[in-house]
């Protein structure tokens, strides 16, 4: 149409820059879509990072040890009384079971190392089992306990990079004193030696480059800084030279140290850590980590490489070898992590669970519900149905709106100053936590209830009043039941919010380490406790890496609870929704 001659001037004028305008339109639209996509994308990243971080914590590798519960060890007084059983040497029971697994471990240091496959706290768990079932005394009993956190991570493949290499030859081990010579009938070690040599060469080059950069920077400076840099540069050069010198020494064996990957040879129940690889690629020397007997030409063997160098990981080759051996013997098995739910907090990540926090949350929420819902509903009823329109009512309304925007941490300060310091209520208790959270939730409940009450049509009130009901009868017999679904939904959403709240509870001391779950009873309200979000906060700070997964797992539990609450709210809204 643009080329029609009798076109009106306005149409042709508009058509001229139409293209640019539509491009702008498209850009704007794309920006809008990108914003939505960004928000959704971030949510996906957030959830997937937490799910992937948390899932490993739902399984656990457990040691199933057969322990000898000898009467003289665990019942020192010999009367089978609780007092006597509490004094028993349960650690010794566990230790001897471990020693039975690895009889060749004798040195004190090695033994200590061996016992670090599990945490000593398990002795208490064994004691509890015996106390619960005294019939176990004197019997052989299969005791299940979680593997130490780092080794658990190792078995889940989260701690180190490792691989198993293919082998061609038959393997022989010969022993001379402490040293073991490993010989393969094929050049099974050649690729590894080449790889390590390349690594070392790259390292030397890197050091040289760094040295050059330092020297260059030093030129522009003077004084101590320049001298320090030059010194560092020289040091780097010398290290590089050392590395190169070792490499150039032709036909010499390649030494493996803690800065290189560990190479383990496993054969027939023995394990050898290689200390050097000979130039021929078929011979290597090493030391026994497991077993001590020579082997002659066995073709069934494993060449296992841990690529994360020993100096950059938290577990030694020795512990890994023991763990692998136990796994091969079927003593270690992976199972659903019941500790996560059956235990309260613990210093040891493998024994830490959310039970205490869960109970604390339940107790706190009970207080919050019993206070905030009735008071909130009553307030809303008063404001919506009874209150005269005067200054005081206006003040209350402004007040509620402002309270809704007060930062939650300020409610914590209020709790600390009023409930704890002025009223003398106990610190860290669900009672105080519940009180603080109910004050915080109150505005939400009030606002939701008022909206629900407003939605009830005036005609219903008029109808009730017209048949002679009093105002209170109208409200309680007609308006309130009709508004109930809305009130319920609003309250649940408010409570779900309160359940995820952390900051105010830190103020009133619910942030302490509490190893015992509070009792789910009246006295539980004043016992020290913590709640789910605070537990998450505490664990996120944990030094052990295993706490990372626990934190994510705890978050998943909390999110599941909150999703449950919100789903309930949505269900109730759908089920009872009424439109006028």
């Amino acid at each position: 149409m643009t080329d029609t001659p009798d076109i009106s001037p306005i149409r042709s004028a508009v058509s001229k820059n139409l293209g640019a305008r539509y491009r702008a339109e498209l850009r704007f639209r794309a920006a809008g879509l990108a914003a939505v996509a960004a928000a959704v994308g971030i949510l996906i990243v957030l959830l997937s990072s937490i799910v992937s971080g948390g899932l490993p914590a739902f399984t656990v590798n457990e040691l199933e040890l057969t322990v000898d519960l000898e009467r003289e060890v665990i019942d020192p007084l010999g009367d089978g009384s609780e007092e006597s059983l509490r004094r028993g040497g349960y650690s010794r029971v566990l230790q001897s079971a471990m020693r039975a697994e690895f009889p060749e471990v004798q040195a004190r240091r090695d033994l200590r190392n061996l016992f670090s496959l599990y945490t000593a706290l398990n002795a208490t768990r064994l004691m509890d089992e015996v106390l619960e079932n005294p019939g176990l005394i004197g019997s052989r009993h299969v005791f299940t306990m979680p593997l130490a956190d780092d080794l658990d991570l190792y078995l889940k493949g989260l701690l180190v990079e490792d691989r198993v290499l293919d082998t061609d030859g038959a393997l022989s081990l010969s022993v001379e004193g402490d040293a073991v010579t490993v010989r393969s009938s094929a050049t099974d070690f050649r690729d590894l030696a080449g790889e390590f040599a390349r690594t070392l060469r790259a390292r030397a080059t890197l050091l040289e480059v760094e040295a050059d950069t330092l020297a260059e920077r030093a030129e522009g400076l003077s004084g101590n800084d320049a001298e320090d840099m030059l010194y560092d540069a020289e040091l780097n050069r010398r290290r590089a030279l050392d590395i190169r010198a070792t490499l150039e020494r032709d036909a010499g064996p390649l030494a493996l140290d803690a800065s290189l990957p560990s190479v383990l040879v496993e054969v027939d129940g023995r394990a050898v850590a290689l200390t050097s690889i000979a130039a021929d690629g078929a011979t290597a020397s090493g030391r026994f980590l497991l077993g001590s007997e020579p082997v002659d030409a066995m073709s069934d063997w494993t060449l296992y490489v841990i690529d994360t160098p020993a100096e950059r990981r938290r577990v030694s080759d020795q512990l890994i070898v023991w763990t692998r051996a136990l796994e091969a013997r079927g003593v270690i098995s992976s199972a659903f992590n019941t500790y996560l739910f059956a235990n309260a907090d613990s210093r040891e990540p493998e024994l830490a669970g959310v039970k205490g926090a869960l109970f604390g949350s339940i107790l706190t929420m009970i207080i919050t519900i019993t206070i905030s819902v009735p008071i909130g509903v009553f307030t809303a009823l008063y404001l919506e149905e009874y209150a005269p329109k005067n200054r005081f009512t206006a003040l209350i309304e402004v007040n509620i709106n402002n309270l809704a925007a007060v930062p939650s941490i300020v409610f914590g300060l209020l709790g600390l100053a009023v409930f704890i310091n002025a009223f003398g209520l106990p610190r860290s208790a669900p009672l105080v936590g519940g009180l603080v959270l109910s004050l915080m939730t109150l505005p939400t409940v009030i606002i939701a209830t008022r909206a629900a009450l407003k939605a009830v049509p005036q005609s219903i009130r008029q109808a009730a009043l017209a048949v002679g009901a009093s105002r209170t009868q109208t409200v309680f017999h007609h308006v309130l039941p009709l508004a109930a679904p809305g009130i319920l939904t609003g309250s649940i959403i408010g409570l779900a919010q309160a359940m995820g709240e952390t900051a105010p509870l830190l103020m009133i001391g619910m942030v302490a380490f509490i190893a015992d779950a509070p009792t789910l009873g009246l006295e539980g309200f004043t016992q020290p406790a913590t709640v789910m979000p605070v537990q998450i906060f505490l664990w996120s700070d944990g030094a052990e890496r295993a706490f990372e997964a626990r934190t994510a797992a705890a978050i998943l539990v909390l999110l599941a609870l909150m999703i449950g609450f919100n789903a309930l709210a949505i269900y109730l809204r759908r089920r009872f929704e009424r439109r006028w």
Partner: protein, 263 residues
């Protein structure tokens, strides 16, 4: 309804022609096979009871129905012989040449000047500020508002009275110099004095534009229009010179409506 197609003012060229236009909203038919020829440089009034389809038809003329979800328009509609529902016709271009004034005055929350300059600005019609000033002044003159607002062009458009706001909206529409101006009950929210002002203005604008006005008031239709079309239940019942429709309606429905038996 082909018998409705005739040009009541034979001396004037046809501006808008509709053939078998149907409109449905989410499957519910709102307009049945409307065919009509509307002449240029005159005022054509659409009358009829509420819900009769007159506004719906009006909104077809600048494709405002596009903005409503689920609206479907069928049939053929031409302006100057060009099919406006054609894919090659851009609604933006169409709307620039077909101005519209709504029931309730809807000045934008901007100054009086910016309100009038809105169209020229978005369409890039003025190359310089003096040019834009001229367009704005012209449009305000044509809308008969210049004398009242020339000293306060920077005031917000919403600060004017209802009648002034409606004239401001008309000025906004004619600032881009359209070919057709659609008015959807432009006086229904105004008092009688403001209404009279607007009607005067419509009469003046007739010189240059094709004006189509939807109105509820038969008196208004009689006062301002040269042609009148009567709609009922989504059908165009009768169309002809205003005088004929009011003095000598052919259809009984038209007669019942203008004598006040329903509506």
């Amino acid at each position: 309804m082909t018998d409705a197609i005739h040009n009541p003012a034979d001396e004037l060229p046809i501006k808008v022609a509709a053939r078998d236009v149907t409109v449905s909203y989410s499957g519910k038919q709102a307009l049945h096979n409307v065919s009509i020829d509307i002449p240029d440089r005159s005022v054509t009034a659409f009358i009829g009871p509420s819900g009769c389809g007159k506004s719906t038809f009006l909104r077809c003329l600048n494709r405002m129905n596009d903005t409503i979800e689920g609206a479907k328009v069928g049939g053929s509609l031409t302006i100057d012989g060009q099919e406006i529902n054609d894919k090659s016709i851009d609604p933006v271009v169409l709307r620039a040449s077909v101005g519209m004034v709504f029931q309730k005055p809807n000045p934008f929350p901007k100054s009086i000047y910016d309100n009038v300059a809105y169209g020229p600005r978005i369409h890039g019609l003025a190359l310089s500020r003096p040019e834009l000033d001229e367009i704005v002044e012209n449009a305000l003159h044509k809308a008969g508002l210049w004398a009242e607002v020339s000293d306060r062009l920077a005031h917000p458009g919403t600060s004017l009275s209802g009648g002034q706001q409606q004239r401001l909206v008309i000025a906004r529409a004619i600032a881009v110099n359209p070919e057709v101006i659609l008015m959807d009950e432009p006086c229904s929210a105004l008092d009688p004095i403001a209404t009279a002002r607007i009607e005067e203005l419509i009469d003046e604008l007739r010189e240059n534009y094709c004006i189509i006005i939807v109105t509820h008031s038969m008196q208004q239709a009689a006062r301002v229009s040269q042609q009148t079309a009567f709609f009922h239940m989504g059908n165009l019942v009768e169309y002809g010179p205003t005088e004929d429709i009011f003095t000598n309606p052919r259809d009984t429905r038209t007669q019942d409506y203008i004598t006040g038996r329903f509506g």
